[in-house]
């Protein structure tokens, strides 16, 4: 982690103007992605995970969307102020992106091969024929059988898992530095999920690219991530190396997510502890810490002041008042593993 990050997001704020007022979807998000590493962004639906990456990619519609503050730098180069043309040179070439639902993410009336080749034609100046040859190679690489024939087919002739491989092949066509995967396996069944994740890891090892993996599946995080950023109500509440987050989680929300996850080894038959309630309405985020209305350990200070970021260990931060020197030490916050087994 010594070198400069491939992507550095700092204090990003995004709002959406709606009829009822501004929705503050992203509130001061910062994270970094390092070369060849995977950052997993986790959190419930509506926590701003997708909005953050779509803002980086310039994919949110403006208006109603608006970046009110912050920066996102790819290898030191600011992305948020680029012109459309400059941004188009980066999208697809230096940052690849794959989406949640592969069945709807490909153009239904265009052949698979052409859709992959298009990226190469636009960014690498290839002819269509060269692009198609390369597309077949990419399909082969993502282990799609009979790539040559498949390249001539349309999306509706593919299964969901195969289409996600196509998406991966397409996003990797120009060997991007960074791959953003927005819940890439949510729409797939479990066995296919494992294959797709394995494929992503393998390509990462070979090409040395970085990955931002958005998910709400902690099993996927454990399998894939080097670093984790936990998001809640448009903020990063805890971030750090994957082992730190899993074994020394220091934010009640992180612990809540872990307890809501089934674990076949330790507690078969245990009732899962869902976090009561749902994420706050971002029209009017709660005062103080965004999590306090649902937090079992909420203190008076939590309702009044936003918690600062506390360093738990090098590279591991948590935004929770419980980590303050003056805070009482509830068992759960100090020893999460113990509490999970209670």
């Amino acid at each position: 982690m010594s070198d400069t990050p491939v992507l550095k997001v700092e204090n990003l704020n995004v709002e959406f103007a709606t009829f009822g007022g501004a929705v503050r979807a992203v509130r001061g998000v910062s994270y970094e992605v390092y070369e060849g590493k995977t950052l997993a962004v986790v959190g419930e639906s509506g926590c701003g995970k997708s909005v953050t990456v779509q803002t980086i990619m310039g994919l949110i519609p403006c208006p109603p969307g608006k970046v009110t503050a912050g920066s996102a730098k790819l290898c030191g180069r600011e992305l948020l102020t680029l012109s459309k043309e400059e941004l188009n040179k980066i999208r697809g070439a230096e940052i690849g992106m794959i989406f949640q639902d592969p069945m709807t993410s490909l153009n239904p009336t265009m052949k698979i091969g052409d859709q992959i080749a298009e990226t190469l034609v636009v960014h690498r100046g290839m002819s269509r024929r060269e692009g198609l040859t390369e597309a077949r190679r990419l399909l082969d690489r993502t282990r799609i059988p009979e790539a040559a024939e498949r390249a001539r087919q349309y999306p509706f002739e593919f299964s969901g898992g195969m289409l996600q491989r196509v998406m991966i092949a397409m996003s990797l066509a120009c060997k991007p530095k960074l791959l953003i995967a927005d819940e890439p396996t949510t729409a797939l069944d479990v066995t296919i999920q494992a294959q797709v994740l394995e494929l992503m890891r393998e390509i990462q090892r070979e090409d040395g690219m970085s990955i931002i993996l958005i998910t709400h599946d902690l099993a996927v995080v454990a399998r894939m991530a080097d670093d984790v950023a936990v998001m809640y109500a448009g903020e990063v509440v805890e971030s750090g190396p994957v082992d730190e987050i899993f074994y020394r989680g220091s934010h009640p929300y992180t612990l809540g997510l872990q307890q809501a996850m089934p674990d076949a080894r330790h507690d078969a038959g245990r009732q899962l502890d869902a976090i009561p309630g749902s994420p706050p309405d971002l029209f009017a985020p709660p005062s103080g810490c965004g999590y306090h209305p649902r937090c079992p350990h909420a203190m008076q200070v939590c309702t009044k002041a936003s918690p600062a970021s506390f360093e738990i260990s090098p590279g591991h931060q948590a935004s929770c008042w419980l980590n303050h020197a003056d805070a009482p030490r509830p068992e759960t916050a100090a020893s999460p593993v113990g509490s999970a087994q209670e």
Partner: protein
Amino acid sequence: MISYIAKRLLSGLVTVWFIATATFLGMHAVPGDPLLNDKAVTPEVRASLEAAYGLDKPLPQQYVIYLSNMLQGDFGISFTQKNRRVNDIIRDHFPVSAMLGLLALTIAALGGITWGAITALYRDRLPDVLIMLLVVFAVSVPSFVFAALGQLVVLKFNQLIGHSVIPVAGWGTFKHMLMPSLVLGLGTMAYLTRLMRSSMLEVADTDYIRTARAKGLSAPRIFFKHQLRNAILPVITVLGPAIAAITTGGFVVELVFAIPGLGRYFVQAVQQLDYTVIMGTTVFYGAFLVFMVIAVDIIYGFVDPRIRVDKVGA
């Protein structure tokens, strides 16, 4: 694909047979008969005329004669126009109507797609608001008003130039066709514009357009290569019914612009209870429409790969 086309053609034939039968029965249910118009008809003359046209035979027998003649492509002789065969009327005048309709359809389709795409591109801005206002106008005003207005515009234009550039009425050259086909296609164009607009907006919000943007494609490339083709699909499906709207609308426009098309004979025949001409033109138009709709469906299969299901071995 082959079996699909065969199935469609077969059901088309059944539809045409149904049209033919319904017309036959409907027409015989109307009071009066084609000979009533000739005032001084003595019983003897009447009897001989009825015998000549076969009207003295019982209805089922007439039906059988009518169907078997039609199967051989013979629609019979007109009752009111001396010795003129219905086939000749169709042959002489249908090409005129078809030409007018085809031009109107082309204008409607190209115009509808273009205007629809523009309104979607400028959503909620001035061009959109303006065009959509005109669309409401074009949808609600009947075609005979537009026909008269069109003639007025042509007249004023000619007066402005000083000599007749575009003829106000009549038929013969391409210039004659311009205003009538524009008038004829206007309503359909407006309808297609609305359809295209909503279809474009729907496609703009899809995941695959987001993918295209994430690929770093330029806005024009996304528009033409990804958005347009997918947005046109619903427009193509309504082209079949649009042909029906244009051909039926054509009767009125032909009348106003004094165009010697089939529509005029059709309307005249109904007024004069000219059995053979009514049946001939109705069945002919019916068959034409039915097979145009089938043709559109087949074309759709070529534009949308998802429809071509039973391809090689799949």
